[in-house]
């Protein structure tokens, strides 16, 4: 009934396609050495989409304000680097804490109520944080953004270069590490109970599952990951603009995740890659056309290709395999 990928039973083994996917990501810098800056942006956005997949694809929480946690992480890392704490990894950790804290504090109003209330509350929280950052221009730099960041060398050895080599490797390593954690989470009993809540929130309490606590927990985890993604963006670009908190970021994120297919972890990564490469190509021609085609794509997707790219692949595969088994 829903647009999510088919439920799969937990399986800790790595599918060959998964291995190939990660090998391809690791090999990408050798194939496209000139596009490393875009590449690391894709990885960072993919990480951000992964955080949304945890709450949308697995727990069924629709959010239009996920940029709040992303922005909180970006500003945390940015402000730390600006005021003398330029060590990247600890900045990342601080951003994770900031993202989780914002998510936890707002989860009490964000995870209750129906879908419309959730949409509104997450949208409202996102807009409030945006306005707050805009007004606190002395701290955040307001519309001019936060620059003058002094990010130190990664691990004290690798400086962030203009070509984006360090940024790519750094983003890739963080993405992979977080992905492993997420993969573990969604295959745990906790992850399974989230799917139970998504598919039948009324029945889960009868099984003894504390729905509210579970949702608050996953929302906070998702916030921490979004915070990490924001910090990665801040550290690799050495700049934090107000748009890290913007509505467009939240809306685009939702589009990417659905484009790739929610509820299978890889959907967000694939969606982010497709979205950003297309955006990069089309909006260099004309930003208005990009918006139009994106809108058309969304409408078409809702009517013909629910479940996104990953969902479509999964469906096709199941059909072929199902036929072969018979």
């Amino acid at each position: 009934m829903s647009g999510f990928a088919a439920v799969r039973l937990p399986d800790a083994r790595w599918h060959p396609a998964e291995v190939a996917f990660w090998v391809a990501l690791a090999a990408a810098p050798f194939v496209f050495p000139g596009h490393l800056v875009l590449g690391s942006q894709v990885l960072i956005t993919g990480l951000f989409a992964l955080s949304l997949d945890l709450i949308l694809g697995y727990a069924g929480i629709v959010s239009l304000g996920h940029a709040a946690m992303f922005g909180a992480g970006a500003y945390t890392a940015g402000l730390l680097a600006r005021h003398g704490w330029g060590e990247p990894l600890s900045g990342l950790a601080a951003a994770a804490v900031a993202g989780a804290a914002i998510a936890w504090a707002t989860s009490f109003i964000a995870v209750r109520g129906g879908d419309l209330t959730r949409l509104m509350v997450t949208l409202g929280i996102g807009l409030m944080l945006y306005e707050a950052a805009n007004q606190a221009a002395r701290v955040t730099g307001g519309v001019d953004g936060l620059s003058d960041m002094a990010v130190r060398d990664l691990l004290g050895v690798f400086p962030f270069d203009l070509a984006g080599r360090t940024a790519y490797v750094y983003s890739f390593a963080v993405l992979f590490a977080v992905f492993l954690v997420c993969r573990r989470i969604v295959r745990s009993p906790f992850g399974l109970s989230l799917r139970g809540i998504r598919d039948g929130a009324r029945r889960m309490p009868a099984l003894g599952s504390p729905v509210r606590r579970r949702l608050i927990a996953i929302y906070s985890v998702s916030g921490a990951i979004a915070g990490i993604a924001g910090a990665l963006l801040a550290q690799t670009t050495q700049f934090v603009g107000l748009e890290v908190l913007g509505f467009a970021r939240s809306a685009d994120l939702l589009v990417m995740l659905v484009l790739g297919g929610a509820g299978w972890l890889y959907g967000g990564l694939i969606g982010a890659a497709l979205f950003m490469v297309a955006q990069n190509q089309l909006s260099s021609m004309n930003p208005v056309y990009w918006q139009f085609w994106l809108g058309l794509l969304l409408v078409a997707m809702v009517f013909v290709a629910r479940g996104g790219v990953v969902g479509a692949i999964g469906l096709a595969r199941e059909r072929i395999l199902g036929r072969a088994a018979r």
């Binding site: 009934m1 829903s2 647009g3 949308l56 629709v62 239009l64 109003i109 209750r112 109520g113 129906g114 879908d115 419309l116 209330t117 949409l119 509104m120 509350v121 949208l123 409202g124 929280i125 807009l127 409030m128 306005e131 707050a132 805009n134 007004q135 509505f247 809306a251 939702l254 589009v255 659905v258 208005v288 056309y289 918006q291 139009f292 994106l294 809108g295 058309l296 794509l297 969304l298 409408v299 997707m301 809702v302 009517f303 629910r306």
Partner: protein, 288 residues
């Protein structure tokens, strides 16, 4: 510029009336079809452009463009409802959000393509300009006109819903679409007519709003939050609730901008979260 408290309050009421006109259609369609329509502002924008184009290129007088704005938006609403919206009533909220977000993006890009990205100029006719002094308070004539017009429309809507056969069908369908269909009410047609009416009112509101809120292609996104806020706070499907929420929002927004300009839009977002905290069930109660 010094403006007295009654003057600010009156501006708030005028602003709230505009919000009411633009969000009542959204409120009814959300209550009736449970459809999360983020593209509602696009109908308001269409009405605004019909008004501007009618006045500037075709030389239609301002008052005569208002019914045109209503009709154009209502026609667009009717066509889209029949062609697209109807297929998604039974889908989940995520599909509805994505679809209507896509429609909004297309409308923004389309309006930029046709009319350019700038603010549209608005020249009100002379008799709507200036101010009158009522009980020692200077009131803008256009704002008085707005409040009077919206009050008339509200009264007509209440009569329509409470006193006519169509209104009875509408109320029955809102309460329980399935049972109403069982009683022989053509719920699908009630949906279509209501959707067109709501879109038309949004178009009228968009035309009236140019002088107050301005008009550029980002209009549907810029005021999206306001429309949704009105509906969520007022309770979907309720005229009285929508009116109360619109006025409350208008008053807070205008007085916030006058008295604490530094806080900017923060006042309105804070109000929204507080209201949602206080009345988390308001929406659901309204939608039932």
């Amino acid at each position: 510029m010094f403006t007295s408290l009654p003057g600010v309050l009156f501006d708030g009421v005028a602003y709230g009336s505009l919000l009411f006109l633009m969000s009542i259609g959204l409120s009814v369609t959300m209550g009736l079809m449970r459809f999360i329509n983020l593209a509602h502002g696009a109908f308001a924008m269409l009405g605004g452009y019909v008004c501007v184009v009618g006045m500037a290129r075709l030389g239609v007088p301002f008052l005569a463009t208002l019914p045109l704005a209503f009709l154009a938006a209502a026609a667009a609403g009717a066509v889209l409802e029949r062609a697209l919206y109807r297929r998604l009533y039974r889908r989940g909220p995520l599909d509805q959000v994505l679809f209507s977000l896509g429609l909004t993006l297309m409308s923004v890009a389309g309006a930029t393509y046709v009319w350019g990205s700038g603010q549209q100029p608005m020249h009100l006719p002379g008799f709507l300009l200036g101010q009158v002094r009522v009980l020692g308070v200077d009131l803008g004539i256009y704002r008085l006109f707005l409040v009077a017009l919206v009050a008339t429309i509200t009264a007509a809507l209440v009569l329509l819903v409470r006193r006519t056969r169509f209104g009875a069908r509408l109320r029955a369908s809102v309460d329980d679409a399935q049972a109403s269909a069982g009683l022989g009410i053509d719920v699908t047609r009630v949906f279509s007519v209501t959707f067109a009416l709501g879109s038309g009112l949004a178009g009228l509101g968009g035309a009236l709003a140019i002088d107050v809120l301005g008009l550029d292609p980002t209009f549907p996104l810029k005021y999206l939050v306001y429309f949704l806020l009105v509906v969520v706070v007022g309770g979907a499907g309720s005229i009285a609730g929508t009116l109360a929420a619109s006025l409350l929002l208008g008053l807070f927004d205008v007085s916030g901008k006058y008295y604490v300009p530094a806080a900017g839009a923060f006042v309105i977002y804070a109000l929204m979260v507080v209201l949602l905290l206080l009345f988390p069930g308001g929406l659901r109660r309204g939608a039932r």
